[in-house]
Amino acid sequence: MKDLNGIVRDSLHSVAPEVDFSGLNRERPLRDQVELDSMDFLNFIARISKETGVRIPAAALHDLRSLREIEEYLRGSS
């Protein structure tokens, strides 16, 4: 699998190009730190799913809040 951190960063930039990725707190919910509506957030996760090849069920959206949760989910599925 490609560099996970890079995929997550590029996917986030595809919906929110202005975000300083390295300045984000990995533990806190992403949507508390970046202005993303539910459609942006969905497109962000869908992009990650496409780039990594990991199928992410729609029901998992609620559990993927912080960058840490997202990366742990991807590691567990790869």
């Binding site: 919906v15 929110a16 190009p17 202005e18 202005e35 509506d37 539910s38 459609m39 942006d40 969905l42 497109n43 996760i45 869908a46 799913s49 496409k50 199928r55 992410i56 069920p57 729609a58 029901a59 998992a60 959206l61």
Partner: protein
């Protein structure tokens, strides 16, 4: 010979800049085909042609800015031409312009007002000056909707999930089909009901401001189909590219969705020449009495801004009631 002209992509548009030709002299064009990309103050719009024929002459070159109505190209018509609308599927197959070509007009830095914001400001001024608004709101229980989404999403992936906005837009479209006085245009002192329901969805842009392209013929679509189309509209709007002229000019009612924004209720401003706007607030949990004790349910405030020249509170109340009724059984019809 048919003159293909700079279209008016909104009441406020005076001129447009030709960003890109998708055709050249000698090319055959069919009705519904995207032939040019035009930069208005709002966004880059893909302009369709509603005739079939062969492009004979290009009169306005890439980069030129010309007034609405200016002849852009001459097209030799092939047989009988009709101006009826095409099914949306045909439009979606067309290619989209490169986003890079259209980032300019959308950029507005903090402190300055972008062209989009100025256009919206003008439309809203006209609305508040000319339209006698009335406002109604109704709390709608969305537990059946959420339960239905839960069942659907259990077998869907993040590629094709359903978000609550899709059944809400679906219910508004259904209610519009039953209440023609909410769905249409008020022009020159007269209301003309629209033949199809094309809800314009307010989509906020990261660069500031918002645009409201229409979801064409939503009355004929299922909830999953509406979800796909909303997602497509949001992506194309936020990329600042690929909104079609037909999507810009043909909204018949507006839906503004503040479900993510933490507000209880929307008091919306109607987008002229439309006559109604439906606002959706942020869902919340409330207690209600059922039998012997309190129960809880999830509700959302669905509001209506109506044009009192066309409808009134009684009609508006029935319209909100119809939306509520449809939301109690999403997906059944």
């Amino acid at each position: 010979m048919f003159d293909f002209r700079m279209p008016s992509l909104g009441a406020d548009m005076e001129a447009g800049r030709l960003l890109e030709w998708k055709v050249k002299p000698g090319d055959r064009v069919t009705r519904g085909q995207v032939v040019a990309v035009v930069d208005t103050d709002k966004a880059a719009i893909e302009v369709e042609i509603w005739k079939t024929g062969i492009v004979r002459e290009i009169l306005i070159q890439k980069g030129e800015k010309v007034p609405v109505g200016t002849v852009l190209a001459r097209v030799e018509l092939a047989g009988e031409a009709h101006e009826e609308a095409l099914p949306e599927e045909t439009r979606l197959k067309e290619t989209r312009p490169a986003a890079a070509a259209v980032t300019g007009p959308l950029q507005g830095s903090a402190g300055t007002r972008s062209p989009i914001q100025k256009v919206i400001a003008r439309a809203m001024e006209t609305s508040k000056r000319e339209i006698p608004h009335y406002y109604l709101s109704r709390r709608v229980c969305i537990d059946p909707l959420l339960e239905w989404i839960g069942i659907e999403n259990a077998r869907r992936s993040v590629e094709d999930p359903i978000l609550p906005i899709a059944p809400l837009v679906w219910a508004v479209a259904r209610a519009c089909g039953e209440q023609p006085l909410m769905n249409g245009h008020f022009r020159e002192g007269e209301f003309l009901p629209a033949a199809t329901v094309n809800p314009a969805l307010v989509i906020s842009l990261r660069s500031g401001g918002s645009i409201a392209p229409a979801l064409l013929d939503a009355g004929s679509l299922t909830i999953p189909e509406i979800m796909v189309r909303i997602r497509d509209l949001v992506i194309r709007s936020r990329e600042g590219s690929g909104i079609r002229s037909s999507e810009f000019g043909e909204g018949t009612i507006t839906v503004t969705n503040l479900m993510d924004s933490g507000v209880d209720r929307v008091f919306g401003v109607i987008h002229p020449p439309q006559v109604a706007l439906v606002g959706i607030g942020t869902p919340f949990c409330e207690a209600f009495e059922k039998g012997s004790g309190p129960c809880f349910r999830t509700v959302v405030e669905v509001s209506l801004s109506g044009d009192h020249r066309v409808s009134d509170g009684r009609i508006g109340a029935r319209f909100l009631g119809a939306i509520d009724e449809h939301l109690q059984g999403p997906g059944k019809r």
